[in-house]
């Protein structure tokens, strides 16, 4: 092999991409040719410098968790088993016990202010858990016509489901959750890196009317009622944008179960 041929194949040789025959031919040539040897060494030096100098960026932990969390998991066999597993439900257990004995604690619980505090607390815990554990979504889909029917037969109401991509809040999936004694629908939206959990359940009339946004443990919550449904949006997204999200949800007409677009 001569210099001209060798130069053409140098990179492939250095990258280990040549078949054995040509590799041996080049090595024979390199033994006798200094300039080709220098070329190989130069390329080798460059490759070593890149490998040694360029950072290899590993996936941040929160990205890995989010990706894992976005995979579908099975719905719990019964909502009650979900109930018993959560550490924060100790208070709920105590309440149930007291109610069966007497009503004086029950009277305390059902004052609207107290009720709202507890709901806020449970929503926040549920939101945090959904981000940490592998249970952010039961149905992974950006298509409202897939997410909405998924809830059929799983809960006793039909939550309104809209994709809000054009407002900057794409729908990414849904799941069931359990808040203050009832199964609720959760729609998961995304705003840039932030996850928004939108909890929906039928209004009972006991809750407070739409009130100002609140926050707990660093998470923001926005609440409203519309068309017989109660909505709570929970996110680490800032309050201003979370309110924009709630307005986007509120302003969409209900799908009413019929196809749109």
């Amino acid at each position: 092999m001569n210099c001209e041929d060798t130069q053409k194949l140098l990179a492939a040789y250095s990258d280990g991409e040549l078949d054995l025959t040509r590799t041996l031919e080049i090595e024979e040539h390199l033994e006798i040719c200094e300039s080709c040897r220098e070329a190989v060494e130069g390329l080798s030096a460059l490759k070593k410098a890149i490998w040694g100098g360029a950072p290899y960026y590993k996936a941040p932990v929160e990205l890995r968790q989010r990706v894992i969390a976005s995979l579908p998991r099975s719905v719990p066999a019964e909502p009650k088993s979900h109930f018993w597993q959560m550490g924060g439900w100790g208070a709920g257990l105590a309440m149930a016990a007291c109610l069966s004995i007497g009503l004086f604690l029950g009277a305390l619980v059902y004052r609207p202010h107290q009720l709202r505090k507890e709901v806020v607390s449970e929503l926040t815990s549920s939101h945090i858990r959904s981000l940490l554990a592998t249970h952010l979504m039961d149905v992974v889909s950006t298509d409202q016509h897939t997410v909405k029917p998924w809830f059929d037969g799983k809960i006793d109401f039909a939550p309104p489901v809209q994709d809000l991509s054009r407002n900057g809040f794409p729908l990414i999936g849904g799941r069931l959750d359990y808040i203050h004694g009832r199964t609720v629908a959760v729609l998961i939206y995304q705003a840039r890196k932030h996850i928004i959990n939108l909890f929906i359940w039928p209004s009972t009339g006991n809750e407070a009317e739409t009130s100002s946004p609140t926050s707990q443990q660093g998470y923001n919550l926005v609440h409203w009622r519309k068309s017989g449904m109660t909505f709570w949006a929970v996110s680490d997204l800032n309050t201003k944008e979370l309110k924009e999200f709630s307005q986007a949800v509120e302003s969409e007409p209900s799908t009413g179960g019929t196809g749109r677009q």
């Binding site: 130069g42 890149i50 100098g53 360029a54 960026y57 996936a59 990205l63 998991r73 719990p76 890196k193």
Partner: protein, 190 residues
């Protein structure tokens, strides 16, 4: 197993298959999440956008996982990451998309000239990183795939969707440009 019975009653079939699919996906594809992020990070230039691209790519990868017929799962994921990146680029930085590497159009290779010096040996970590960041995106991606991911020419051809001959010539030009940047950088040092 009671969870599966519940799903059969409620749903017929899809939840169970979805869960198996999710488990398989986690086992087969998620080990390459670092490779996915590394490529996205070098292509987008920052952590925030890289995470967005990887998140989006992962969702698409899972959606298409049914069509994955084996072979290199890393190449498969990196192909999706790369395509997601270029879609993202077109939406967020359209001006960068139109930067064709004029190298490919105008350069004339002189096979007798040795383009490589030993300057690179002494190049600092910062100099190397900055030099790669300066490369046009098509050169940067091929350097990352080859030198950091150790992809074969064949894998690079699959991920970038060009013939192996183009991979080789693009790689040669990318390395040449890198070398020139490093030579220049070291020449400026007192």
């Amino acid at each position: 197993m009671s969870g599966r019975v519940f799903n059969l009653e409620m749903d017929g079939r899809s939840s169970m298959n979805e869960n198996e699919s999710a488990a398989q996906f986690e086992q087969e594809i998620l080990p390459h999440l670092d490779a996915a992020y590394n490529l996205a990070r070098w292509l987008t230039g920052n952590d925030h956008d890289a995470q967005d691209v990887v998140q989006e790519a992962s969702l698409r990868a899972f959606k298409f996982f049914g069509g994955f017929r084996g072979g290199s799962s890393r190449s498969w994921l990196l192909t999706i990451v790369r395509n997601t990146f270029y879609t993202w680029l077109g939406q967020n930085r359209p001006h960068e998309l139109s930067e064709q590497s004029t190298e490919e159009l105008h350069s004339v290779e002189d096979p007798s000239a040795n383009p490589y010096t030993l300057i690179a040996r002494n190049a600092s970590v910062e100099a190397v990183r900055e030099a790669i960041e300066q490369l046009p995106v098509e050169f940067r991606e091929i350097i990352v795939l080859r030198e950091l991911e150790s992809c074969s020419y064949k894998e690079i051809a699959a991920v970038t969707g060009v013939p192996i001959g183009t991979v080789m010539s693009r790689l040669a030009r990318a390395r040449k440009q890198l070398q020139e940047i490093l030579n220049l950088e070291s020449g400026e040092r007192p």
